[in-house]
Symmetry: C2
Subunit: 329 residues, 2 copies
């Protein structure tokens, strides 16, 4: 805990705080004795779930609001020491069928959050959750931060803009912000109802419910980060001045094909079945093939690297959902 002593009594706001990563971050910060406020819209299609804060519900303040509501954001941001800005529309398909909503959340709301910080709380520290998705189809592997951004969906384009607003406000107005480009993140409290957040979610749901799950393609290589490792990266980025204005890739130590991942899940679960399927047409066009990231930069600057092996992480995840499946379906 010594290395995170910055957060003792610190006032921390987490947007998307009832979601997968936000709620795991909240659990950690409560343990670190921070004063935590969670803002979440609880839009049913997104990642927010009140069950995610079971055990800390009396130790955090929850504000059901939307980052698009500039007035409530103003009220919530004033006086905070840290902002973990994780709220976002994350679905590829939703961004294509309704590009405007994606724009409102991933661009306009980000601008209004930053404007509030600039005007009313310029000393705040901000960590923005960006995504490897903005790289699009990799031109080389592993992908480092020098790789061109070539997003393949509206969501990727808007997240790219949202990330750069943060960097711009850091560089222009000195309101210390940085961005982490997350790769596939998994762990307890992720959405498993469907594949909106991650395909790993729906795989695990089917596995636990004894149903066959579908693996689209199967040969694509990916890396994965367990959510606790992502939380470490966020806390390191929030407390270290060297992170300001920077963009860092996160990544995983193991590179694995989707079919190998499916096999590993079956093995850890002791039973289960999957089926290899062709990519559906509407997904094929935004398929990026293989992806795994080079996270040398954050390792060098902040000393971060993933600590949880894929087997350990998946096992914890399976255990969590075996116990709590009814709260996530």
């Amino acid at each position: 805990m010594g290395e995170y002593s910055n957060f003792i009594n610190a006032k921390v706001l987490i947007t998307g705080g009832l979601g997968f990563i936000g709620s795991n971050l909240a659990h950690r910060l409560v343990g670190l004795k921070a004063k935590v406020t969670l803002v979440d819209s609880l839009i049913p299609e997104y990642g927010g779930n009140l069950f995610n804060i079971t055990g800390i519900e009396d130790k955090v303040r929850v504000d059901i609001s939307d980052v698009r509501d500039a007035h409530s954001m103003h009220y919530l941001i004033e006086g905070q020491d840290y902002l973990f800005n994780l709220a976002g529309q994350t679905s590829h398909l939703d961004s294509m069928s309704d590009p405007y909503t994606d724009l409102e959340i991933n661009c306009k709301a980000q601008l209004s959050i930053l404007e509030v910080c600039r005007n009313y709380n310029p000393h705040i520290r901000i960590v923005f959750a960006s995504t490897r998705q903005i790289y699009g189809k990799p031109q080389y592997l592993p992908v480092d931060e020098k790789h061109l951004l070539r997003p393949v969906d509206v969501n990727g384009i808007n997240k790219m803009a949202g990330e750069w607003y943060h960097i711009l406000y850091n560089n222009t107005y000195d309101i210390r912000a940085c961005a982490l480009r997350l790769t596939n993140t998994y762990g307890p409290r992720m959405r498993i109802k469907d594949a909106r957040q991650t395909f790993v979610g729906i795989w695990i749901r089917n596995l636990i419910e004894g149903k066959t799950f579908e693996v689209w393609g199967g040969e694509q290589l990916r890396d994965f980060t367990y959510v606790d490792d992502v939380i470490d990266a966020m806390l390191l980025a929030a407390k270290d001045e060297k992170a300001c204005g920077q963009i860092f890739n996160l990544g995983g130590n193991e590179v694995i094909s989707l079919e190998e991942l499916a096999k590993l899940l079956l093995e850890l679960n002791g039973r289960g079945k999957y089926l290899i399927k062709e990519f559906p047409g509407d997904r094929k066009k935004i398929d990026i093939g293989d992806y795994y990231s080079d996270f040398t930069q954050i390792k060098k600057v902040l000393g971060w690297e993933p600590k949880i092996s894929l087997s350990d992480g998946l096992l914890s995840t399976l255990n969590f959902y075996q116990k709590n499946i009814k709260n996530y379906t």
Copy 2:
């Protein structure tokens, strides 16, 4: 004209059609016997000016409307063969003081234009006017299309998103679009009332009015494209299938410092005076230092290169404003 025979009787829509580049394009297309519709909001701070279509006013259709008006855009886009999508908010400073308006025009309206094309006119060809500004401060020179995008103002971030929406819709929905990243463009019909469009504008106004003009810094290197050369690039990009889904830099054959440019203008004008001034504070943070572009790619693929020398271009520009100054101040 043979090389541009595609445009005979073609239905062409130009957004920002009463502006600097849009109106020059309209003059050219009328000469090529295209059926031209111009849409422009005539917002006083932007580049639109009804005088810009003097001589062709009876040969084009003008619709005073705003690209943010999705309904009028739907009506205007239906049935067109070509769309030159040039409307935009272009001021750095305005984008910083009012980021939302910049977002509405440079992002949201672009999405709605592309949605109209996708739903009601998927066979249209689109050329989008992007900008070298999205590169930010160059990491190497000359800047080619492989250079990372690191925009230094809200306008740059939103133009980056606007450009990528076009590429995305090309790649995903096959509605053939491409983007040209313009460098400093100058020539007749640019805004010279102030420095909102280009500093060259206000220099020329002061020169013609016998006033001393200010050169900020002076040592920065830049390249310039005469507007007729930009029009050539746009027409080539619109008619050549090889342009679809591509992003091309435009550029100039001469690289020149701002002070050398000021001297050249004085020499061509026969008289005048300038003053070297330090960058104002609010500009300093978004100053990008030297910039000039590598336009090898468009030369290779479309056979474009600038034909007008800087001296010839500036002389034509000076002549135009000496005759028409009262319509631009």
